[in-house]
Symmetry: C2
Subunit: 315 residues, 2 copies
């Protein structure tokens, strides 16, 4: 299987530079001086998540006449908004397939970027997306299972390597594995001495189990849906799992309460609003599970339901 290379990631960086925010590394003044911490705040991207990196790289790689036919994505989360946002920037149509039970606020937000939202029965997302591709000639942008998406997400890692060349520990949330595959590829090449850790909720730890077993394992959707980290309920594809096997040094799992505490710490001490998925890496740092060293925690997104945020900050 052909894996994404550092050259792919570097080429992606040139393509997405015009569109994505060059997020800084934020030194956490509250961190243990023995284990200095920097936050990579991808929750500050325009749609509130790293996902626009992969979306823009994928759109940029399309030939003009192909891209003009538009794009299709199926997602109820950050990927939907990212593809809608990128399509609007390119002035091409976006068709986003979302399950009927998607909260209205997410549908509206996706529409606010000019996308056409197609609601579908639960479990029929891929079928509907395929039909849309067939009908419109638009191109499907998968959430993680594609080299262009992985290379785009990897640009996050290039920035980390540039800003902190002597980073020793990098903590990355893992769901479908696109972000960790991309960042891992960049860090392996640029900072060969850094250790790369994936972070998962205990309640959706399929990758932790899979990497230990040496092959992908399947957790039921019901099991994975237990975590409040709604961005971490997917599982790696064959392609991302192959990357993870190559670049991940270890896995750390965190509890639901540890994520909630990390959300509080990020809000009160780093002045950032993180969604549970995005806060997992800070939760991993706080429990001291990682080996010591100069640490970067990738906070992948900030799209938390306002009511959940209020509840967590009131607790």
């Amino acid at each position: 299987m052909e894996l994404v290379t550092i050259d792919d990631v570097k080429a992606a960086a040139d393509r997405v530079r015009e569109w994505v925010v060059r997020t800084p590394l934020l030194p956490a003044a509250w961190a243990d001086p023995e284990r200095p911490l920097w936050i990579k705040p991808e929750n500050l991207q325009p749609v509130g998540a790293f996902k626009i990196r992969g979306a823009f790289n994928t759109l940029a790689r399309l030939d003009d006449p192909v891209r003009a036919r538009g794009v299709v994505a199926y997602s109820s989360g950050n990927h939907a908004q990212a593809v809608a946002y990128a399509a609007r920037a390119y002035g091409v149509p976006a068709h986003i397939v979302m399950p009927e039970d998607t909260p209205t606020v997410k549908v509206e937000k996706t529409r606010s970027y000019g996308a056409e939202v197609v609601l579908c029965p639960i479990g029929k997302r891929e079928e509907y997306a395929d039909a849309l591709v067939e009908k419109t000639g638009a191109v499907l942008v998968p959430p993680f299972d594609h080299p262009h998406v992985i290379a785009g997400q990897g640009t996050t890692g290039l920035e980390i390597a540039h800003d902190l060349p002597d980073v020793e520990v990098v903590l990355i949330p893992i769901s479908g594995g696109g972000l960790a595959s991309g960042i891992g590829t960049a860090i392996r090449a640029m900072c060969p001495n850094a250790r790369i850790y994936g972070v998962e909720p205990e309640l959706a730890a399929d990758t932790t189990e899979g990497l230990a077993a040496g092959h992908r394992v399947n957790w039921s959707v019901e099991d994975r849906n237990r975590t409040i980290a709604d961005g971490l309920r997917s599982q790696p594809s064959e392609l991302t799992f192959a990357h993870l096997q190559k670049v991940i040094d270890g896995m750390i799992t965190v509890t639901e309460d540890e994520m909630r505490e990390a959300i509080r710490v990020l809000a009160h001490k780093s002045h950032l609003v993180a969604e549970p998925s995005g806060a997992t890496t800070v939760a991993a740092y706080l429990k001291g599970a990682a080996v010591p060293g100069r640490t970067v925690a990738v906070v992948s997104g900030g799209n938390i339901n306002p009511q959940m945020l209020a509840e967590i900050l009131t607790a």
Copy 2:
């Protein structure tokens, strides 16, 4: 009176670069497309506020033997932490004078940066600070009334001008006026067509009144203390007022409720935690009071009391 120049600000930028976060301009995807908005998130600085820019520039300007004797500041807010943080970075002592009624959490935070905190009776801050200077030979770092402080804060404006050269409107909170003096100086020089607006709470609008009158006016401490924007309760000095008269095109005042709403918008849509003072500029944008155009809102700080944040987000 000699005012700070763009060359002073540029020189300050070289001095503080190593220590301050190069904050990005964050495009607000939720903004009115007719009035595009970028946030300058100074709440992401290590102590949660722009104040470290002025503190670092002031410390950098001291001769080594002078700096080695340490620094003194009187403040119960962001300036205290900024001076403590900068002194620690330089490895010199910091003595911070705080009123006895300062919330313990702020005292502890200042101590956490290695500063010696001296508590004093209310209203005796300057007297205590002067005595400390006398006794220790340390240098007083004023919160805004000094050219080196103004030049340091102005580096924020240089970054705005670099990142968005065709900015049309810049919104800056005004309290003692150091930040607006510095940013105004930079923007006037680099983006001569941009309009620069100061923002104040209605309940502490002494500068709005003073600029209209053509001279400083005094509001009582009791009046100014009514606003929840605890970072905006100071008044300009002769030096900062002279800068403001030169660089400010207009003033906008906001209500307490408008600040609360801006805090909610920043948390939910831009994933940033702002203190009331920092949110005033977004409040000004939201009420549409400014003239239209490509707008930058400087979010000056994020040190909001956790209980107040929870209350505002629950409302």
